[in-house]
């Protein structure tokens, strides 16, 4: 009976029903899209940083991350290589040797990172080969050929075929110097990276730096990168004690934190919106319930308990909230899903915000059922909470008081 009464009331008080329905639907939709958009852009930024060069995880000597000089090199790279090869969760891996050196073109000298890589194996680990914009990518037999970032090329004023002199120090701290020819130029869109990095075939660089069978670290990706924490811990178990496996959450701590702060501010902003919505729903419920005060008094006089009244009013908001949240969630989720597949494009954004690690004009949304579920649940609870006060207030009146209420 309560249910049919509630339905009748909903149909009868159109104004309140429509307002509550529209508001909750819109709020649900807005919240889902807002969060999907926020998460989407964060994922995009982190993903491009991870995939451009860093990689999903590193294996390095303990202490390397605090002091990444020559004192903390992996000295028996073959041994680590064997372990990674036998680990079934690891999909691809490759050693890198990172150092800094002074590079000079015909007129200008610039300090830059120089990395020895195994070119063929980088293809499945980073975007390096795909970021080529001019010339050619390296191959595994290359001698003194170098693959440099577009901004670095600009700073050095060099082009494909130009020569670059390098002065650095080899691992015994003696001076290492060599002459390289530019084989290719790349652009990842990560401004800092493009202006400070150069790559050389590791086999060759090892002869210059005396770093045979050594590596700064191994970069790797797993079959299941979504469960990164779990697989990293498992990998750690099979590594020697002095070596550690760290994933991108640690490698890119600053970036992860920056995204977290951004989310925090996002949620604070939207919570103000929730305060207003909460009050508006409460006001409309309050007004609606009080215009029915006499009716409620009559029901009480006829023998309904205050519990029954509470139940009836609660069922009303339950029906309204459920309908609007289902509708809002379906529309919101569809929007999120659509824009995950076909991201919004804001042309020129990557160029403007290049120093902030934004590498693409695409702004995808992030479609995640769990996130959508808790977003919807939040609005649902908000709706139910908004009715508690009006209902308790009317239930404080006795049947006679309610009937006489003007």
């Amino acid at each position: 009976m309560l249910f049919s009464l509630a339905v009748r009331n909903i149909v009868k008080s159109k104004g309140r029903s429509i307002t509550t329905l529209l508001l909750s639907t819109f709020t649900t939709l807005f919240f889902i899209v807002y969060v999907a958009f926020m998460d989407g852009s964060h994922h995009q930024i982190i993903k491009s940083s991870v995939e451009a060069y860093t990689g999903y995880a590193h294996v390095n000597l303990k202490g390397y991350r605090d002091e990444s000089g020559y004192d903390n090199l992996i000295e028996n790279a073959e041994r680590i290589e064997q372990i990674l090869k036998n680990d079934r969760s690891v999909k691809a891996y490759s050693p890198r040797f990172e150092t800094y050196a002074l590079l000079s073109g015909d007129e200008k000298a610039v300090g830059s990172m120089i990395v020895g890589i195994i070119p063929s194996r980088e293809a499945s680990l980073s975007k390096l080969p795909h970021s080529l914009i001019k010339g050619e990518y390296l191959n595994d037999n290359d001698p003194n050929l170098i693959y440099i970032g577009s901004e670095l090329a600009k700073r050095l004023k060099v082009d494909v075929g130009s020569q670059i002199a390098m002065v650095g120090s080899s691992i015994d701290y003696s001076i290492a110097a060599d002459l390289f020819t530019v084989k290719g130029i790349f652009k990842t869109g990560l401004f800092d990276f493009d202006s400070q990095s150069a790559f050389v075939n590791k086999t060759y660089l090892d002869t210059v730096m005396l770093s045979q069978n050594m590596a700064s670290y191994f970069t790797l990706c797993f079959h299941d990168n979504d469960k990164i924490d779990k697989v990293t811990t498992e990998l750690q178990a099979s590594l020697p004690e002095e070596v550690e496996a760290v994933n991108w959450k640690t490698l890119l701590t600053a970036l992860v934190q920056a995204m977290l702060v951004d989310s925090l501010f996002g949620y604070i902003s939207i919570s103000i919106f929730f305060v207003v919505i909460f009050f508006v729903i409460m006001i409309f419920s309050y007004v609606n319930i009080y215009t029915r005060a006499r009716e409620i008094g009559l029901l009480r006089a006829l023998g309904l308990t205050s519990k029954d009244i509470f139940g009836m009013l609660f069922v009303e908001i339950l029906i309204l909230a459920t309908v609007s949240i289902v509708v809002g969630t379906i529309i919101g989720a569809s929007i999120a899903y659509y824009y995950e597949l076909y991201p919004i494009v804001i042309s020129g954004m990557a160029e403007t915000y290049k120093e902030y690690g934004i590498v693409s004009d695409e702004m995808p949304m992030h479609f995640d059922l769990f996130t959508i579920a808790w977003n919807a649940l939040t609005i649902f609870i908000l709706n139910l909470a908004a009715i508690i006060y009006p209902v308790t207030k009317i239930n404080k009146l006795t049947a006679m008081e309610a009937m006489r209420y003007v």
Partner: protein
Amino acid sequence: MYRHLAWLSIWRRKTRSMLVIMMIALSLSGLLGLQGLYDGMVSHLINTTIRSDSGEISLYAKEYRLNKSLDYRLSPLSTVENTLSKHQEISAYTMRLKQEGIVATARKSLGASLTGISLEKEQHFGQLDAFVTEGDYSFGKGNKGALIGSALAKKLNVTLHSRVIFTAQDATGEINAISFRISGMLKTGNPSIDDNAVFVSMEKMSAFLNLQESATQIAVRVKDTQNIEKIQNELQALWPDTDVLRWDELYPILIQMQELMDIFSLAFYAIVFVVATLGIFGVMLVSVLERMREFGIMLAIGTPYKMVRNQILLEAFFLGFIGYVGGAFLGGVLLFYMSTAGVDLRAFEAGLEMYGYSAMMYANMHLYYFFQAFFAVFFATLLSVIWPLRKLKKMKPIQTIQGKML
């Protein structure tokens, strides 16, 4: 009289009015707090950039910004110095001689920039001394020391009194090296300094680069920010062959960020107040409808419609105004707290610093926030009574009194 009537009417239904007032007050205080905080974040960013780098106006040799070579330098300096020091509206200026290269310890090397400065001038210019986190604001005994960016120091793993070597090309194109001890560390919040810069005395830098009386940048502080463009034009006219650029031309992204924040604030204001208007509307509509009979009698005994209208307008205005006063007070307290005690986000320090934000955030507090809020509330209340007033206007007093039409 209608003023008195309006005031009494809003307290006839206390709870309902209080709900509206609370809605306005709470959302408004949140909006004010957020606006101040976002504003504070961006202006902090702008402020540190101006203090530690660009000043309000910077002078560069033409071409230098495209091609950071010592070939494009400002020289001789004495005439410029003479003019700047005598200019009435310039409060300070500083000269910097900068070159990019590689900074190295015995174990590690990184790309960095070395800048020759005068400590005294920088102190006067932007209180550079206030950014010193460790050590002294000095170049040590005989001006042989150097100040280093804190993030760079961390990456290099150097502490106070560590010895570092800087290698770069001098003005003749030769590669030179210079060594010094760290006498202090700087944390400005400007990533290009914290991550990248080493400062030495101007004399030492000039000797290292084989230059005399040269600078790559001259930065100027202006007494009154209203006059920036005027002074820019004056200086440009004096030295037509030099790039004379304002901070917002050098860092357009800062202005864009500010604009983006403003747009965001405004959009948020709009959304929140559209919803709030709906809340006020609900209450006003019901309050008018339930008193239709009363208004009918008033009109029937000869009260002009204008007076009844004014009464309702005033009721809405009172509600809005009380809400506004409450919100402005709460928001003011919140802003005052956030602008003096600050918001401690040190848990996310690394993430914030990556984008140049400081981990202790201070909100801005401007009078115009409160004006803006007042107009938003004012329009919201005005908008919310349009529909109820139309209802009232269409009413036929006699039928209403007879209870025939409601």
